[in-house]
């Protein structure tokens, strides 16, 4: 089963990390990634650029409102993710707890849906289409 490990950090933690030697961070993350590759569980992942470059589309009002990053009242910023293919929820938790992250950071661990999650809607037109999209590689 596949899980997404979603890295979320407070703006303060991200600021604080800027004073840490960047090479140290690269090395720690590299070693972590390598350990998951060597265990045969890491199948995807990426980091995100500074939240200041991003923007938010807010659906609170009738017309969606676009706001520049870093997102006003949001306390934790999503700044990267890993996808692991593991044998159990507990194994996902074990890998997550090994991430080289410090205070102010959290990993949200979420199981990625598969076809079985939509079994009751297998005949739905868009569920069918999604299979085709995946087949054509449109969804990566």
């Amino acid at each position: 089963m596949k899980y997404m490990l979603i890295m979320r950090s407070t703006a303060e933690a991200i600021e604080a990390s800027k004073t840490t030697d960047f090479e140290e961070i690269i090395n720690a993350m590299g070693a972590y990634n390598e350990s998951m590759i060597k265990a045969g569980v890491l199948i995807g992942g990426d980091g995100l650029t500074d939240a200041a470059e991003g923007f938010v589309v807010d659906f609170s009002s009738e017309t969606p409102v676009i706001t520049d990053g870093p997102y006003g009242e949001v306390h934790e910023l999503f700044n990267g993710f890993w996808i692991v293919d593991v044998s159990s929820r507990e194994e996902a938790a074990q890998w997550a707890s090994r991430a080289p992250l410090g205070p102010g950071s959290k990993l949200e661990v979420r199981r990625i849906t598969d076809e079985s999650d939509f079994a009751d809607f297998a005949d739905n037109e868009y569920i069918q289409k999604e299979k085709e999209w995946r087949g054509e590689g449109a969804l990566g």
């Binding site: 590759i37 060597k38 265990a39 045969g40 569980v41 199948i43 995807g44 293919d85 593991v86 044998s87 159990s88 929820r89 507990e90 194994e91 938790a93 074990q94 890998w95 707890s97 076809e115 299979k131 085709e132 995946r134 087949g135 054509e136 590689g137 990566g140």
Partner: protein, 433 residues
């Protein structure tokens, strides 16, 4: 120290809404740790004790301790190091009991003092894990023993999980593992990687074990579909581990590629009632594209090593031709014919020839394919197998020789061991009128 560990534990317990399942929660956590750490723990212990079988026992005893202690102490921050340290202490106790206060004991005791017991982080290096892989797949062991031992110590599966995946009683798996350890001890197999003269044969044995586990899951003739897919995915994971340990070995990457391509078709290989869907009839939109992408990357890594293609690489390249083709008609059959020819030269095998015949029939026409099939038949190879008459029947049908085709397919149905396969062949024969 256990800050993160305790947080993890309470998160697991939070799941356990009903009282009395804390034990099960810890069991699952310990299983998960064992999954991740088993190879390194056993490799470390085998290195310090020089005794693989004992190392495995010590590690299992440490797991029992964890099950007893972690519910009250919380999961240690570095659970692998905890297990390793506990197992090492058990080794020292064992030596004391045996009054074998020899150099090995002194070295180990010294190491533990120096690193301060539980803080000792274990540290089997990749070479030790590789020694472990070679030991588990040692040629003195039978295939079943190699498979059970590899899944348990390298893959970190519990005996119960292995039994469930192979549809055999737990006692059977236990017995296989106990016997395997006895065999290794009796043969006095050193905990070493093989030397240059043996290397390639021994690596072949390791890759063979991994692929056997995969095919057991992939082409299972019995059992729950989902569990069998799970077994194949375990093999894929093992394959990635092995490729990571021997990154310069093209065939290790090629085996990963082959398994990725084949596993990408899992979703499309069976109907909801469990009956098989032939490659030509599969809904290709259900092939897992991300997995195919990983297969392409793994095969490229194998090719980049520049040693030419071995049997796994050639099979992976054939699987890649299918995986990237939009349909049967748009498949590069000429290329597949060439790849089968190369495979046949490298490892002559009548099944490969038969596959080549099918590819030739697609690339050139059924008459050319039939000529190859008839050559195989004349050689006497594959006598008694349903494969030969079933392919021959298909080709005859395409040539319009329906009566002969029907007769061949009926013969094939009579020879097929698998009930579902038998039905498919009967249906085909009946469809010819």
């Amino acid at each position: 120290m256990a800050r993160r560990g305790r947080a993890g534990l309470s998160a697991m317990n939070a799941d356990a809404a009903t009282p009395g399942v804390d034990g099960a929660g810890i069991r699952r956590t310990v299983d998960a740790v064992w999954r991740i750490e088993s190879a390194r723990i056993v490799a470390t212990l085998a290195k310090v004790t020089g005794d693989f079988a004992w190392a495995e026992d010590l590690a299992q005893e440490a797991v029992v301790d964890a099950l007893a202690q972690w519910p009250s102490t919380g999961v240690p921050q570095n659970p692998g190091a905890w297990l390793t340290a506990v197992a090492k202490r058990k080794a020292i106790d064992g030596w004391r009991r045996r009054e074998r206060l020899d150099d090995r004991y002194r070295a180990l005791a010294h190491g533990l003092d120096e690193h301060g017991g539980a803080a000792d982080s274990g540290e089997a290096i990749d070479d030790d894990v590789l020694r472990l892989v070679f030991t588990a797949c040692h040629p003195v062991l039978g295939r079943e023993a190699q498979v059970a031992l590899t899944l348990r110590v390298v893959g970190g599966l519990s005996t119960e999980e292995i039994a469930r995946l192979f549809l055999v009683p737990v006692a059977t798996v236990q017995q296989r593992i106990v016997r395997a350890k006895k065999t290794l001890a009796a043969a006095k197999t050193p905990f070493e990687t093989p030397g240059p003269s043996e290397w390639s044969a021994r690596l072949g044995s390791v890759l063979g074990v991994v692929y056997l586990i995969f095919t057991e899951g992939y082409s299972a003739t019995s059992g729950d579909r989902w569990m069998r897919a799970e077994l194949a995915l375990e093999a894929l994971r093992l394959g990635r581990v092995v490729a990571g340990l021997v990154p310069r070995e093209a065939e290790a990457h090629a085996l990963v590629a082959l398994m990725e391509f084949q596993a990408s078709r899992f979703g499309a290989r069976t109907r909801s009632d469990g009956s098989p869907v032939l490659l030509a009839d599969q809904d290709r939109s259900r092939w897992d594209r991300a997995q195919i992408g990983r297969g392409v990357a793994a095969l490229a890594r194998a090719d980049e090593l520049g040693r030419g293609r071995g049997p796994y690489a050639l099979q992976a390249a054939i699987a890649e031709c299918h995986a990237v083709a939009p349909s049967v008609d748009e498949t590069d059959w000429e290329r597949i014919v060439l790849l089968y020819e190369a495979l046949g030269r490298l490892a002559p095998n009548p099944v490969v020839d038969l596959n080549r015949a099918v590819a030739v029939s697609m690339a050139v026409g059924p008459a050319s394919g039939l000529r190859i099939v008839d050559e195989i038949a004349a050689s006497g190879a594959l006598r008694g197998s349903h494969l030969l008459p079933s392919v021959r029947g298909e080709l005859l049908a395409r040539l319009g020789r329906l009566a002969e085709a029907r007769s061949e397919l009926t013969t094939a149905a009579g020879l097929a061991a698998n009930a579902r396969e038998r039905q498919v062949l009967r249906d085909k024969a009946a469809a010819l009128g």
